[in-house]
Protein backbone atom coordinates (compact mmCIF):
# COMPACT_ATOMS: atom_id res chain seq x y z
CA UNK A 1 0.00 0.00 0.00
CA UNK A 2 2.83 2.38 0.90
CA UNK A 3 4.57 1.56 -2.35
CA UNK A 4 1.36 2.31 -4.21
CA UNK A 5 1.06 5.65 -2.44
CA UNK A 6 4.65 6.66 -3.21
CA UNK A 7 4.14 5.70 -6.82
CA UNK A 8 0.99 7.83 -7.00
CA UNK A 9 2.82 10.81 -5.44
CA UNK A 10 5.58 10.48 -7.98
CA UNK A 11 3.05 10.39 -10.81
CA UNK A 12 1.34 13.54 -9.54
CA UNK A 13 4.73 15.33 -9.30
CA UNK A 14 5.58 14.24 -12.81
CA UNK A 15 2.26 15.48 -14.15
CA UNK A 16 2.76 18.85 -12.42
CA UNK A 17 6.23 19.23 -13.87
CA UNK A 18 4.97 18.37 -17.34
CA UNK A 19 2.11 20.88 -17.05
CA UNK A 20 4.52 23.62 -15.95
CA UNK A 21 6.82 22.87 -18.87
CA UNK A 22 3.91 22.86 -21.32
CA UNK A 23 2.83 26.32 -20.14
CA UNK A 24 6.35 27.69 -20.58
CA UNK A 25 6.95 26.13 -24.00
CA UNK A 26 6.50 29.45 -25.77
CA UNK A 27 9.22 31.06 -23.66
CA UNK A 28 11.93 28.62 -24.78
CA UNK A 29 14.97 29.94 -26.67
CA UNK A 30 14.70 29.02 -30.36
CA UNK A 31 17.54 26.97 -31.87
CA UNK A 32 20.18 28.92 -33.78
CA UNK A 33 19.55 29.31 -37.51
CA UNK A 34 21.45 26.97 -39.85
CA UNK A 35 24.79 28.32 -41.05
CA UNK A 36 24.67 30.54 -44.07
CA UNK A 37 26.00 28.48 -46.99
CA UNK A 38 27.07 31.55 -48.92
CA UNK A 39 29.45 32.81 -46.23
CA UNK A 40 31.96 29.98 -45.78
CA UNK A 41 35.63 30.94 -46.04
CA UNK A 42 36.40 27.22 -46.41
CA UNK A 43 34.30 26.89 -49.55
CA UNK A 44 35.52 30.21 -50.97
CA UNK A 45 39.10 29.14 -50.35
CA UNK A 46 38.41 25.74 -51.93
CA UNK A 47 37.31 27.15 -55.27
CA UNK A 48 40.43 29.27 -55.53
CA UNK A 49 42.67 26.41 -54.43
CA UNK A 50 41.30 23.95 -56.97
CA UNK A 51 41.45 26.45 -59.81
CA UNK A 52 45.10 27.10 -58.99
CA UNK A 53 45.88 23.37 -58.78
CA UNK A 54 44.34 22.62 -62.16
CA UNK A 55 46.03 25.57 -63.80
CA UNK A 56 49.46 24.63 -62.44
CA UNK A 57 48.98 21.01 -63.50
CA UNK A 58 48.00 22.20 -66.97
CA UNK A 59 51.14 24.33 -67.23
CA UNK A 60 53.46 21.50 -66.14
CA UNK A 61 55.32 20.42 -69.30
CA UNK A 62 54.44 16.96 -70.61
CA UNK A 63 57.28 14.71 -71.76
CA UNK A 64 58.71 15.78 -75.11
CA UNK A 65 59.20 13.09 -77.78
CA UNK A 66 62.93 13.49 -77.22
CA UNK A 67 62.65 12.84 -73.46
CA UNK A 68 60.32 9.89 -74.01
CA UNK A 69 62.28 8.27 -76.83
CA UNK A 70 65.47 8.47 -74.80
CA UNK A 71 63.89 5.84 -72.53
CA UNK A 72 62.50 3.64 -75.32
CA UNK A 73 64.18 1.10 -77.54
CA UNK A 74 66.45 1.37 -79.42
CA UNK A 75 68.00 4.39 -77.67
CA UNK A 76 67.78 3.06 -74.13
CA UNK A 77 69.98 0.13 -73.03
CA UNK A 78 68.64 -3.26 -74.07
CA UNK A 79 67.00 -5.72 -71.71
CA UNK A 80 70.23 -7.71 -71.45
CA UNK A 81 71.78 -4.72 -69.64
CA UNK A 82 68.99 -4.91 -67.06
CA UNK A 83 69.69 -8.60 -66.61
CA UNK A 84 73.42 -8.00 -66.17
CA UNK A 85 72.90 -5.35 -63.49
CA UNK A 86 70.23 -7.43 -61.75
CA UNK A 87 72.49 -10.47 -61.77
CA UNK A 88 75.41 -8.55 -60.30
CA UNK A 89 73.45 -6.53 -57.69
CA UNK A 90 70.41 -8.67 -56.90
CA UNK A 91 69.77 -11.88 -55.00
CA UNK A 92 69.79 -15.33 -56.63
CA UNK A 93 66.32 -16.16 -58.01
CA UNK A 94 63.97 -17.52 -55.33
CA UNK A 95 62.06 -20.75 -55.55
CA UNK A 96 59.90 -20.55 -52.42
CA UNK A 97 58.52 -18.41 -49.60
CA UNK A 98 60.98 -19.95 -47.12
CA UNK A 99 63.90 -18.68 -49.22
CA UNK A 100 62.25 -15.30 -49.15
CA UNK A 101 62.20 -15.35 -45.33
CA UNK A 102 65.92 -16.15 -45.29
CA UNK A 103 66.68 -13.25 -47.65
CA UNK A 104 64.64 -10.89 -45.49
CA UNK A 105 66.40 -12.09 -42.36
CA UNK A 106 69.86 -11.51 -43.80
CA UNK A 107 68.85 -8.09 -45.15
CA UNK A 108 69.48 -8.85 -48.82
CA UNK A 109 65.84 -8.12 -49.52
CA UNK A 110 63.66 -5.48 -47.86
CA UNK A 111 59.88 -4.86 -47.90
CA UNK A 112 58.51 -2.42 -50.43
CA UNK A 113 55.83 -0.37 -48.69
CA UNK A 114 53.98 2.85 -49.60
CA UNK A 115 56.03 5.97 -48.84
CA UNK A 116 55.62 9.70 -49.41
CA UNK A 117 57.14 9.11 -52.88
CA UNK A 118 55.25 6.09 -54.21
CA UNK A 119 52.43 3.61 -53.70
CA UNK A 120 52.91 -0.12 -54.18
CA UNK A 121 49.90 -1.46 -56.03
CA UNK A 122 48.31 -4.78 -55.17
CA UNK A 123 50.67 -7.26 -56.79
CA UNK A 124 49.29 -10.22 -58.75
CA UNK A 125 52.41 -11.82 -60.15
CA UNK A 126 55.13 -10.58 -57.86
CA UNK A 127 55.97 -9.98 -54.23
CA UNK A 128 56.49 -6.63 -52.49
CA UNK A 129 60.23 -7.01 -51.83
CA UNK A 130 63.36 -5.54 -53.45
CA UNK A 131 67.04 -5.12 -52.73
CA UNK A 132 67.99 -2.27 -50.34
CA UNK A 133 69.82 -0.52 -53.20
CA UNK A 134 66.72 -0.45 -55.39
CA UNK A 135 64.64 0.93 -52.50
CA UNK A 136 67.20 3.74 -52.13
CA UNK A 137 67.01 4.44 -55.85
CA UNK A 138 63.21 4.61 -55.69
CA UNK A 139 63.42 7.15 -52.86
CA UNK A 140 65.88 9.21 -54.92
CA UNK A 141 63.58 9.01 -57.94
CA UNK A 142 60.73 10.20 -55.72
CA UNK A 143 62.76 13.13 -54.44
CA UNK A 144 63.65 14.23 -57.97
CA UNK A 145 60.03 13.83 -59.10
CA UNK A 146 58.75 15.84 -56.14
CA UNK A 147 61.35 18.55 -56.66
CA UNK A 148 59.91 19.38 -60.09
CA UNK A 149 56.35 19.25 -58.73
CA UNK A 150 57.29 21.57 -55.85
CA UNK A 151 58.97 24.00 -58.26
CA UNK A 152 55.68 24.13 -60.16
CA UNK A 153 53.74 24.71 -56.92
CA UNK A 154 52.07 21.29 -57.07
CA UNK A 155 51.43 18.83 -54.24
CA UNK A 156 53.72 15.78 -53.97
CA UNK A 157 51.76 13.21 -55.96
CA UNK A 158 53.03 9.65 -55.67
CA UNK A 159 53.87 7.32 -58.55
CA UNK A 160 52.75 3.68 -58.54
CA UNK A 161 54.92 0.54 -58.47
CA UNK A 162 53.09 -2.32 -60.16
CA UNK A 163 55.55 -5.21 -60.09
CA UNK A 164 58.54 -6.14 -57.93
CA UNK A 165 60.16 -9.46 -56.98
CA UNK A 166 59.09 -12.55 -58.93
CA UNK A 167 59.74 -16.14 -58.11
CA UNK A 168 60.28 -18.62 -60.94
CA UNK A 169 56.71 -19.91 -60.48
CA UNK A 170 55.19 -16.46 -60.73
CA UNK A 171 57.36 -15.64 -63.76
CA UNK A 172 56.22 -18.84 -65.52
CA UNK A 173 52.59 -18.13 -64.71
CA UNK A 174 52.88 -14.57 -65.95
CA UNK A 175 54.56 -15.79 -69.13
CA UNK A 176 51.40 -17.72 -70.05
CA UNK A 177 49.47 -14.44 -70.28
CA UNK A 178 52.01 -11.74 -71.03
CA UNK A 179 54.25 -12.08 -74.09
CA UNK A 180 56.62 -9.51 -72.58
CA UNK A 181 57.33 -11.82 -69.68
CA UNK A 182 57.31 -15.05 -71.63
CA UNK A 183 60.90 -15.49 -72.61
CA UNK A 184 63.46 -16.80 -70.15
CA UNK A 185 64.68 -15.19 -66.96
CA UNK A 186 63.43 -11.80 -65.86
CA UNK A 187 65.41 -9.17 -63.97
CA UNK A 188 62.46 -9.13 -61.56
CA UNK A 189 63.63 -12.50 -60.25
CA UNK A 190 66.71 -10.86 -58.71
CA UNK A 191 64.79 -8.26 -56.72
CA UNK A 192 66.70 -5.49 -58.46
CA UNK A 193 63.93 -4.34 -60.85
CA UNK A 194 60.46 -2.88 -60.54
CA UNK A 195 57.79 -1.67 -62.95
CA UNK A 196 56.30 1.80 -62.49
CA UNK A 197 52.95 2.62 -64.07
CA UNK A 198 53.04 5.54 -66.48
CA UNK A 199 49.48 6.77 -65.95
CA UNK A 200 48.57 6.32 -62.27
CA UNK A 201 49.42 8.86 -59.60
CA UNK A 202 48.11 8.72 -56.06
CA UNK A 203 47.27 11.67 -53.83
CA UNK A 204 49.99 12.98 -51.50
CA UNK A 205 50.58 11.15 -48.24
CA UNK A 206 50.07 14.32 -46.21
CA UNK A 207 46.76 15.87 -47.23
CA UNK A 208 46.67 19.48 -48.29
CA UNK A 209 44.78 21.57 -45.77
CA UNK A 210 42.77 24.72 -46.04
CA UNK A 211 44.03 27.80 -44.27
CA UNK A 212 40.69 28.62 -42.64
CA UNK A 213 39.34 28.27 -39.13
CA UNK A 214 38.12 24.89 -37.92
CA UNK A 215 34.99 26.64 -36.66
CA UNK A 216 33.92 27.14 -40.27
CA UNK A 217 30.79 24.99 -40.61
CA UNK A 218 31.95 23.59 -43.94
CA UNK A 219 35.60 23.03 -43.04
CA UNK A 220 35.50 19.22 -42.92
CA UNK A 221 33.39 18.90 -46.05
CA UNK A 222 35.72 21.25 -47.88
CA UNK A 223 38.80 19.27 -46.76
CA UNK A 224 37.30 16.05 -48.07
CA UNK A 225 36.32 17.63 -51.34
CA UNK A 226 39.80 19.06 -51.74
CA UNK A 227 41.36 15.61 -51.23
CA UNK A 228 39.01 14.01 -53.78
CA UNK A 229 39.48 16.81 -56.29
CA UNK A 230 43.28 16.56 -55.94
CA UNK A 231 43.10 12.86 -56.80
CA UNK A 232 40.68 13.50 -59.66
CA UNK A 233 42.96 16.17 -61.14
CA UNK A 234 45.79 13.62 -61.30
CA UNK A 235 43.53 11.11 -63.08
CA UNK A 236 42.41 13.67 -65.62
CA UNK A 237 45.88 15.16 -66.26
CA UNK A 238 48.16 12.17 -65.71
CA UNK A 239 50.15 13.06 -68.83
CA UNK A 240 51.37 16.23 -67.10
CA UNK A 241 52.70 14.12 -64.20
CA UNK A 242 54.21 11.62 -66.62
CA UNK A 243 56.43 14.50 -67.85
CA UNK A 244 58.37 15.13 -64.61
CA UNK A 245 58.58 11.40 -63.90
CA UNK A 246 60.08 10.78 -67.34
CA UNK A 247 62.58 13.61 -66.83
CA UNK A 248 63.55 12.32 -63.36
CA UNK A 249 64.15 8.82 -64.80
CA UNK A 250 66.11 10.18 -67.73
CA UNK A 251 68.32 12.16 -65.36
CA UNK A 252 68.94 9.12 -63.16
CA UNK A 253 69.81 7.02 -66.19
CA UNK A 254 72.29 9.67 -67.36
CA UNK A 255 73.77 9.78 -63.83
CA UNK A 256 74.27 5.97 -63.93
CA UNK A 257 71.85 5.44 -61.03
CA UNK A 258 69.20 3.45 -62.92
CA UNK A 259 68.66 1.59 -66.15
CA UNK A 260 65.27 2.51 -67.59
CA UNK A 261 63.13 0.94 -70.30
CA UNK A 262 59.83 2.55 -71.24
CA UNK A 263 58.03 -0.53 -72.51
CA UNK A 264 56.15 -0.59 -75.78
CA UNK A 265 53.53 -3.21 -74.97
CA UNK A 266 52.76 -2.31 -71.36
CA UNK A 267 52.20 1.19 -69.93
CA UNK A 268 55.13 0.86 -67.53
CA UNK A 269 58.71 1.94 -66.97
CA UNK A 270 60.87 -1.10 -66.25
CA UNK A 271 63.73 0.11 -64.06
CA UNK A 272 66.76 -1.66 -62.62
CA UNK A 273 69.14 -0.31 -59.99
CA UNK A 274 72.78 0.10 -60.94
CA UNK A 275 75.84 0.98 -58.95
Amino acid sequence: MRTFGLLLLALVALAAAFALGWRQREARIPPPPPPDVTSSPALDSLDARLATLRARLERLPTATPEEENALRRPRTPSYSVHLEWADSLGVPPLSSESELSARLADGRLVPLVDTEHYVVRTLEHSKPFVTPLLRQRLAELGRRFHAELAAAGLPPYRFAVSSALRTADLQRDLGRRNRNAASGTSSHEYGASVDIVTFRYSPPLAPDSLAVRYSDPHHERAERYLADATAEAARARWDHLFGPLTRAMGAMQRDDRLVVLLEAQQPVFHITARD
Binding site: G5, V12, T122, R176, P207
Partner: protein, 185 residues
Protein backbone atom coordinates in the same frame (compact mmCIF):
# COMPACT_ATOMS: atom_id res chain seq x y z
CA UNK B 1 -10.37 17.64 -4.41
CA UNK B 2 -8.60 18.92 -1.28
CA UNK B 3 -8.87 15.47 0.25
CA UNK B 4 -6.76 13.88 -2.46
CA UNK B 5 -3.30 14.87 -1.10
CA UNK B 6 -4.43 13.87 2.43
CA UNK B 7 -5.56 10.47 1.17
CA UNK B 8 -2.30 10.03 -0.68
CA UNK B 9 -0.30 10.95 2.44
CA UNK B 10 -2.27 8.47 4.53
CA UNK B 11 -1.75 5.79 1.94
CA UNK B 12 1.96 6.45 1.93
CA UNK B 13 2.17 6.15 5.71
CA UNK B 14 0.10 3.00 5.97
CA UNK B 15 1.95 -0.11 7.14
CA UNK B 16 2.84 -2.31 4.23
CA UNK B 17 2.79 -6.07 4.07
CA UNK B 18 6.37 -7.33 3.90
CA UNK B 19 7.04 -8.42 0.36
CA UNK B 20 8.75 -11.71 -0.28
CA UNK B 21 12.38 -11.29 -1.29
CA UNK B 22 12.62 -10.96 -5.06
CA UNK B 23 14.13 -13.80 -7.00
CA UNK B 24 16.94 -12.40 -9.15
CA UNK B 25 16.69 -13.45 -12.78
CA UNK B 26 19.51 -15.58 -14.08
CA UNK B 27 22.40 -13.57 -15.56
CA UNK B 28 22.36 -13.47 -19.35
CA UNK B 29 25.45 -14.93 -20.96
CA UNK B 30 28.13 -12.23 -21.16
CA UNK B 31 29.03 -11.41 -24.74
CA UNK B 32 32.07 -9.21 -25.21
CA UNK B 33 31.52 -6.39 -27.66
CA UNK B 34 33.33 -6.94 -30.96
CA UNK B 35 35.14 -3.64 -30.68
CA UNK B 36 36.39 -3.70 -27.11
CA UNK B 37 38.97 -6.45 -27.32
CA UNK B 38 42.54 -5.20 -27.08
CA UNK B 39 44.51 -7.81 -29.03
CA UNK B 40 48.21 -8.09 -28.26
CA UNK B 41 50.93 -10.50 -29.28
CA UNK B 42 49.47 -11.59 -32.60
CA UNK B 43 51.91 -11.43 -35.50
CA UNK B 44 50.08 -13.49 -38.09
CA UNK B 45 46.51 -14.53 -38.87
CA UNK B 46 45.00 -16.74 -41.52
CA UNK B 47 41.52 -17.32 -42.91
CA UNK B 48 40.20 -20.07 -45.12
CA UNK B 49 37.69 -18.62 -47.53
CA UNK B 50 34.55 -20.58 -48.31
CA UNK B 51 31.59 -19.87 -50.54
CA UNK B 52 31.27 -19.53 -54.31
CA UNK B 53 35.04 -18.92 -54.31
CA UNK B 54 37.63 -20.53 -52.08
CA UNK B 55 41.16 -19.86 -50.95
CA UNK B 56 43.32 -18.52 -48.13
CA UNK B 57 44.16 -15.10 -46.77
CA UNK B 58 47.27 -14.66 -44.62
CA UNK B 59 48.18 -11.46 -42.80
CA UNK B 60 51.65 -11.15 -41.30
CA UNK B 61 53.15 -8.18 -39.46
CA UNK B 62 56.38 -6.89 -40.94
CA UNK B 63 58.45 -3.74 -41.35
CA UNK B 64 56.21 -0.95 -42.60
CA UNK B 65 52.85 -2.65 -42.13
CA UNK B 66 51.02 -5.92 -42.54
CA UNK B 67 51.61 -8.19 -45.52
CA UNK B 68 48.28 -9.33 -46.98
CA UNK B 69 48.75 -12.46 -49.08
CA UNK B 70 45.74 -14.04 -50.77
CA UNK B 71 45.20 -16.87 -53.19
CA UNK B 72 41.61 -17.37 -54.29
CA UNK B 73 40.10 -19.81 -56.80
CA UNK B 74 36.74 -19.40 -58.49
CA UNK B 75 37.06 -15.74 -59.44
CA UNK B 76 36.00 -14.17 -62.70
CA UNK B 77 38.61 -12.97 -65.14
CA UNK B 78 36.51 -10.14 -66.57
CA UNK B 79 35.91 -8.28 -63.33
CA UNK B 80 37.64 -7.29 -60.13
CA UNK B 81 36.24 -8.43 -56.81
CA UNK B 82 36.30 -6.19 -53.74
CA UNK B 83 38.20 -7.51 -50.70
CA UNK B 84 37.33 -6.20 -47.25
CA UNK B 85 38.00 -7.01 -43.61
CA UNK B 86 34.81 -6.48 -41.64
CA UNK B 87 34.13 -5.66 -38.00
CA UNK B 88 32.09 -8.87 -37.78
CA UNK B 89 33.65 -11.79 -35.96
CA UNK B 90 31.85 -14.50 -37.89
CA UNK B 91 30.68 -15.07 -41.44
CA UNK B 92 27.09 -15.38 -40.19
CA UNK B 93 27.30 -11.77 -39.02
CA UNK B 94 29.11 -10.53 -42.13
CA UNK B 95 26.02 -9.31 -44.00
CA UNK B 96 25.58 -5.64 -43.22
CA UNK B 97 28.68 -5.48 -41.03
CA UNK B 98 30.73 -2.28 -41.39
CA UNK B 99 34.33 -2.42 -42.58
CA UNK B 100 37.04 -2.66 -39.96
CA UNK B 101 37.87 0.93 -39.00
CA UNK B 102 37.81 3.47 -36.24
CA UNK B 103 34.51 5.09 -37.22
CA UNK B 104 36.05 8.41 -38.24
CA UNK B 105 37.37 7.16 -41.57
CA UNK B 106 35.24 6.83 -44.65
CA UNK B 107 35.21 4.06 -47.26
CA UNK B 108 38.02 4.47 -49.77
CA UNK B 109 40.54 2.84 -52.10
CA UNK B 110 43.53 0.96 -50.67
CA UNK B 111 45.99 3.70 -51.62
CA UNK B 112 44.05 6.47 -49.88
CA UNK B 113 45.66 8.35 -47.02
CA UNK B 114 44.73 7.76 -43.38
CA UNK B 115 41.22 8.93 -42.66
CA UNK B 116 40.12 8.50 -46.29
CA UNK B 117 39.78 4.70 -46.08
CA UNK B 118 38.90 2.09 -43.50
CA UNK B 119 41.64 -0.18 -42.21
CA UNK B 120 39.64 -3.03 -43.77
CA UNK B 121 39.45 -1.53 -47.28
CA UNK B 122 41.95 -3.76 -49.06
CA UNK B 123 41.09 -3.02 -52.68
CA UNK B 124 40.34 -5.64 -55.32
CA UNK B 125 41.42 -9.02 -56.62
CA UNK B 126 40.94 -10.48 -60.11
CA UNK B 127 41.01 -14.01 -61.43
CA UNK B 128 43.20 -15.22 -64.29
CA UNK B 129 42.10 -17.47 -67.16
CA UNK B 130 41.84 -20.37 -64.67
CA UNK B 131 39.84 -18.34 -62.17
CA UNK B 132 42.76 -18.03 -59.76
CA UNK B 133 43.50 -14.65 -58.22
CA UNK B 134 46.60 -13.57 -56.30
CA UNK B 135 46.94 -10.60 -54.04
CA UNK B 136 50.16 -9.52 -52.34
CA UNK B 137 50.64 -6.16 -50.67
CA UNK B 138 52.15 -4.70 -47.51
CA UNK B 139 49.40 -2.50 -46.16
CA UNK B 140 50.42 0.24 -43.71
CA UNK B 141 46.85 0.68 -42.42
CA UNK B 142 45.87 -2.85 -41.35
CA UNK B 143 46.77 -3.53 -37.69
CA UNK B 144 47.13 -6.96 -36.09
CA UNK B 145 47.37 -5.54 -32.55
CA UNK B 146 45.18 -3.18 -30.54
CA UNK B 147 41.46 -2.52 -30.58
CA UNK B 148 41.30 -2.50 -34.37
CA UNK B 149 43.16 -5.76 -34.79
CA UNK B 150 42.20 -7.82 -37.81
CA UNK B 151 42.52 -10.95 -35.67
CA UNK B 152 39.24 -12.87 -35.36
CA UNK B 153 37.47 -10.64 -37.87
CA UNK B 154 35.71 -11.78 -41.01
CA UNK B 155 37.35 -11.16 -44.37
CA UNK B 156 35.18 -11.24 -47.48
CA UNK B 157 35.58 -11.33 -51.24
CA UNK B 158 32.65 -9.66 -52.97
CA UNK B 159 30.89 -10.26 -56.27
CA UNK B 160 31.94 -7.05 -57.98
CA UNK B 161 34.62 -4.39 -58.00
CA UNK B 162 34.95 -2.09 -55.01
CA UNK B 163 35.07 1.40 -56.53
CA UNK B 164 36.44 2.89 -53.30
CA UNK B 165 33.71 5.52 -53.25
CA UNK B 166 30.12 4.31 -52.94
CA UNK B 167 28.78 3.52 -49.49
CA UNK B 168 28.74 1.16 -47.80
CA UNK B 169 30.80 -1.39 -49.80
CA UNK B 170 31.99 0.53 -52.86
CA UNK B 171 29.22 -0.98 -54.99
CA UNK B 172 30.85 -4.39 -54.72
CA UNK B 173 27.60 -6.29 -54.13
CA UNK B 174 27.06 -9.47 -52.17
CA UNK B 175 29.56 -11.75 -50.50
CA UNK B 176 31.22 -14.32 -52.77
CA UNK B 177 33.45 -15.92 -50.13
CA UNK B 178 34.10 -15.38 -46.44
CA UNK B 179 36.47 -16.56 -43.73
CA UNK B 180 37.52 -15.55 -40.23
CA UNK B 181 41.13 -14.47 -39.60
CA UNK B 182 42.45 -16.65 -36.78
CA UNK B 183 45.86 -16.23 -35.13
CA UNK B 184 48.36 -18.81 -36.38
CA UNK B 185 51.14 -18.20 -33.86
Amino acid sequence: MRAVPLLLLLAACAPDRPAPPPVPPPDPPRIASADTVDVQGVSAVRATLAGAASGTVTLRAMEGGTRVLMTVDGLREDTYHGVQILSARSCEAADGSPHLGDGRATHGPYDAIRGRRHAGDLGNIRGDDRGRGRFDRIDPHVPLAGYLSAANRAVVVREHQDDGVALPHGGSGGILACGVLSPIR
